[in-house]
């Protein structure tokens, strides 16, 4: 996403009711966040709805952002992700995915490849690399696809207890690594 200082300036102007700045903030961040929605929801229509709901919320709640929430991009990502998670959890199991989505998704990198792809190795990527493959895959798949424990058992063909253990231990290791 764009430089954080620029996002902060635009968010501050948005909080003052400046719609032009809000549109610029949207234009800078939407391509990444829409890609995240597609990955989580696997539907263009639902992704469009979630993006609209999330950014309308940003417009009305811009003044509630504060530095304890992290960078502006983190705050925006959280708003979009939680809205997408709500949508995933509320949809019926029988709801179908977009016909054309799977093909496009298959062209993208898998979670393990993502975690090691970045040219600039940031702290998280370095710490994810310290996890074993199962822990890393369970955490990344949960985060970017919104998979539940149960869905992870089906995806990885592993027992529920094992999945929970991978996530728990993986998160503990991540925490230790990021704090060091």
């Amino acid at each position: 996403m764009a430089e954080q200082a620029e996002l902060m300036r635009l968010l501050q102007a948005t909080a003052q009711g400046n719609q032009q700045s809000f549109q610029h903030l949207y234009e800078l961040t939407a391509p990444k966040l829409y890609a995240l929605c597609l990955r989580m929801l696997k539907s263009k229509e639902k992704s469009e709805e979630v993006m609209q709901e999330a950014f309308v919320k940003v417009w009305h709640h811009a003044s509630e952002y504060h530095q304890d929430r992290g960078q502006v991009s983190t705050w925006l990502t959280s708003i979009v992700r939680y809205r997408a998670l709500d949508r995933i959890r509320s949809q019926k199991p029988t709801e179908s995915l977009d016909d054309d989505y799977d093909q496009k998704a298959s062209d993208e990198l898998g979670p393990l490849e993502w975690a090691i792809k970045g040219n600039e190795m940031n702290d998280l990527e370095a710490c994810l690399d310290e996890l074993n493959d199962q822990q890393k895959e369970a955490i990344v798949l949960s985060f970017i696809e919104g998979l539940t424990h149960q869905e992870l058992t089906e995806r990885t063909e592993s027992p529920l207890g094992t999945i929970k253990s991978w996530i728990r231990r993986g998160l503990q290791s991540l925490k230790r690594c990021l704090a060091s």
Partner: protein, 233 residues
């Protein structure tokens, strides 16, 4: 269960952010977040820890329809003119012009439904912080029908919470008129003669934030977020 025990708090916050904490456990944790800064801080820290994962997702072209939808929802007058009803949203200042709006609405109703010209009723508009209209509530004295239309309500929606509508009688306690819709078309119900009578002697309406399903006590349990005067038609 002691949620402030560091290991447990850390684990629940991480699984909340990850999305693997779900259902009742997720809702309970959200309630605890509202009560404890320490719990919120743990969540924010995990959001910062994990959000860089998103940076590696390749950007995707964004359909123009998304911004158009956002623009319309934060600024309803941008919607293409489709009908007399929607033309009413051209008003720039809802707070100052709500009374005028009610008069126009009355004229509109009389034009649209000539057989009901003699009907009278009440209307109330709930506005948000920036004076944008959130809900339009109207009632008919003759039929007892209460209509609630969500306009921009989705923008102020709160996860796992419901908005409940209350009458504020001149004497006595608030009386519930049910839950407010956040999206979709007009929600309509027919009030009992008793409730209709209370509505006639009501000074205003209020909306409180309640648990999903509404107040468990029959009285507001959450904060009153919005109030609106009732305008006679």
């Amino acid at each position: 269960m002691n949620y402030l025990k560091p290991d447990l708090l850390e684990h629940l916050a991480a699984e909340y952010v990850l999305g693997t904490l779900k259902g009742g456990a997720r809702r309970r944790f959200e309630q605890l977040m509202m009560e404890s800064y320490r719990i919120r801080s743990a969540v924010w820290e995990w959001e910062q820890n994990l959000s860089p994962i998103v940076e590696n997702i390749p950007d995707r072209p964004v359909p123009d329809a998304i911004w158009k939808g956002i623009e319309h929802r934060i600024n309803p007058q941008t919607e293409p003119k489709k009908s007399t009803w929607k033309n009413l949203f051209l008003w720039q200042s809802w707070g100052a012009l709500s009374t005028a709006f009610a008069v126009v609405l009355a004229v509109f109703i009389s034009i649209q439904t000539p057989t009901e010209v003699e009907q009278s009723g009440q209307v109330a508009i709930f506005n948000g912080e920036k004076n944008e209209p959130l809900w339009l509530v109207s009632s008919s004295k003759e039929t007892g029908q209460l209509s609630i239309k969500a306009i921009n309500a989705q923008a102020v929606a709160v996860d796992n919470k419901a908005f409940e509508l209350w009458m504020l009688p001149t004497s006595g306690q608030p009386r519930s008129l049910g839950l407010m819709p956040v999206t979709g078309g007009k929600q309509e119900m027919v009030l009992s003669p008793q409730l209709l009578s209370v509505l006639q002697s009501t000074n205003g309406l209020a909306i409180s934030l309640e648990p999903l399903g509404g107040s468990p006590t029959g009285l507001p349990t959450g904060p009153v977020l919005y109030q609106a005067p009732i305008v006679e038609l």
